[in-house]
Symmetry: C2
Subunit: 374 residues, 2 copies
Amino acid sequence: MKEKDQQKVRLQLTKELNEKLIEIGKNVINQLKVYENPNVNIPLRSLSNVYFDEKDRLLRMGNKATERTYFNLSQSKSFMQTMLVASKLREVIKDGSHVGLRQLFYMCKQGIPGTKENTFDDQGESDIIIEDIEGVLRVLREQIGIVATSKGKLSGDITLVDSGDEIDCGKLGSSGYGIPSIVEKGVVDFSKTKSEFILVVEKEQTWIRLNQDKFWKKKNCLLMTGGGQPDRGTRRLLHRLHTELDLPVYVFTDMDIWGYYIYSVYKQGSINLAHFSENAAVPDAKFIGVKMSDVERFKIPKNHWIPMKKVDFKRVKEIAAYDWFKEDKAWQKEFKKISDFKHVVEQDVLVAKGLDFMSKEYLPFKFDTKDWIE
Amino acid sequence: MKEKDQQKVRLQLTKELNEKLIEIGKNVINQLKVYENPNVNIPLRSLSNVYFDEKDRLLRMGNKATERTYFNLSQSKSFMQTMLVASKLREVIKDGSHVGLRQLFYMCKQGIPGTKENTFDDQGESDIIIEDIEGVLRVLREQIGIVATSKGKLSGDITLVDSGDEIDCGKLGSSGYGIPSIVEKGVVDFSKTKSEFILVVEKEQTWIRLNQDKFWKKKNCLLMTGGGQPDRGTRRLLHRLHTELDLPVYVFTDMDIWGYYIYSVYKQGSINLAHFSENAAVPDAKFIGVKMSDVERFKIPKNHWIPMKKVDFKRVKEIAAYDWFKEDKAWQKEFKKISDFKHVVEQDVLVAKGLDFMSKEYLPFKFDTKDWIE
């Protein structure tokens, strides 16, 4: 995709968003005209409105919503904040700019004439309103142009067009492609790849080791990391690469309940961002390790095990009871095994067996024998 | 520089490092042969051994060292750890591999036969020993190949050779060049640039805004960020670009004592990493803002000021008393001004004046009128 085509995509999105934003304002004006209490319908983001979609196997936000009205002492401020953010967002989308969450906070933070009242006291308030508006408009904040932190990396044989620049992710040395916060169509585009699958590793240091070994070249894959608990940009790009290029996804984490949860976030989405899941989850992502059977097979020595803490045991129970795990026999077995084992085994220990052990022995064995959990 | 030439540089370094590491072992063997208590001399990294070099205007580590001996109950373990890490480092440098701090921890973590004793209980221990060895060998851990987190970004008209790949940092879209943890010669190389200076901004979101405006193109500069308190890779690359290409450096932070300290870290180095400063500091880096006079000139509205906290006032006093600030009249004035002003003004507020206000008005004014602090 050329720069011009990217612009076209962005212009079309801007037009749609602009219309949706104007709609919010028009509704309020119409309500005022007929002396109704102005309101806006905000989809509920609490746990009570999050459900696991059995068919699509991902987390979704339900249909519950609350009315936010102007003539209501407890809602008047947030109603005003919602209108203020919505109107500022029109500025942001106008020329396709990207704006940080903190920058947007300042754009919306203003005094109310004749009072000492602030429209926003801290960024937490504006962040929440942006999530509200994501729900109202049924768009992602990334589509509006709101950036947050980014920390993902990608290397492999694929060429991306990022803001008009062609970037060959197989020629980015030790750095790789730093996955930006916004990877929407029109900003980051791609058409094809010869790569056959995507390997997502939990930790940046694992990515560095495998990237230096050029694992992606040897196995003809794309190599990604979200640097621990992944940011939205990494999840969104993984989802797009998976769905648009039809590439299978394998996730490689620590053998540890927190690593298993990271896998689950890549796969089903996270409870906090359920409205984001359908655009970010990869329901058929497979878990490639580290798992209990690896400890014996690869003879991970005892002094490389780290004892589990109380909070780890508690978290295993919580996660084992999640809808998407509770009827999964393979995972229930795995949860029981690690609880009995009482130790954590990090992916970093594999490096102690040889600097290139992960890329020469561990991962080839896993892929060759299809030793993963679906 | 071509891939082959990069390899040559790395091989030469490996040879030197290997000899230095062997030297440590040989010394111990020689001491044993003559029935001396084996020891290794570890340069002291505490504040008492850090001084401000008035001539070069950067922090340096002094000459104080402690003997770490084998036959000494309180040192025996750390002596053994030092030897263990030194011997593992020979493995790391052998083929120029990069290894993470946590990975190295596992490489060195082993049981002692016949005991329940561990050589290392947590990563904190091995991290410290690596810093010890940096001091003993007078090299950087980056030269050995030890990677840590990285979060810096760079864009602009410069071509880097990173691990054999040519990367044009002016063609990396919204992503930019993600500055790796290791940017030593032989890994990241560059020969020239048409850019005239380097602008370093405190926050990633400021970098994103300015990068989208292609500020680096308009002003013919390189645009960098270390994402808040900068990591070692960002500081080291800045130092190399500055010294090897003779590019002036300007730092742009919040008007806030923590932002001013970030400037000071780029400029003089940090107390904790004094041994790193001569390879990372930029003593003639200039401070371009945000400063007190900007608040009036650019009419930053009162509701965009954030009240200073108690800890901020205390930190101003501490920093004002640092050797490299205490006789600097311009800075002493600035410190007094912000203490009297009692508020923080972040660089993000400038975006509220217009999405491209920073690149179209604020920064051009600062550069055109040379409104900086030396």
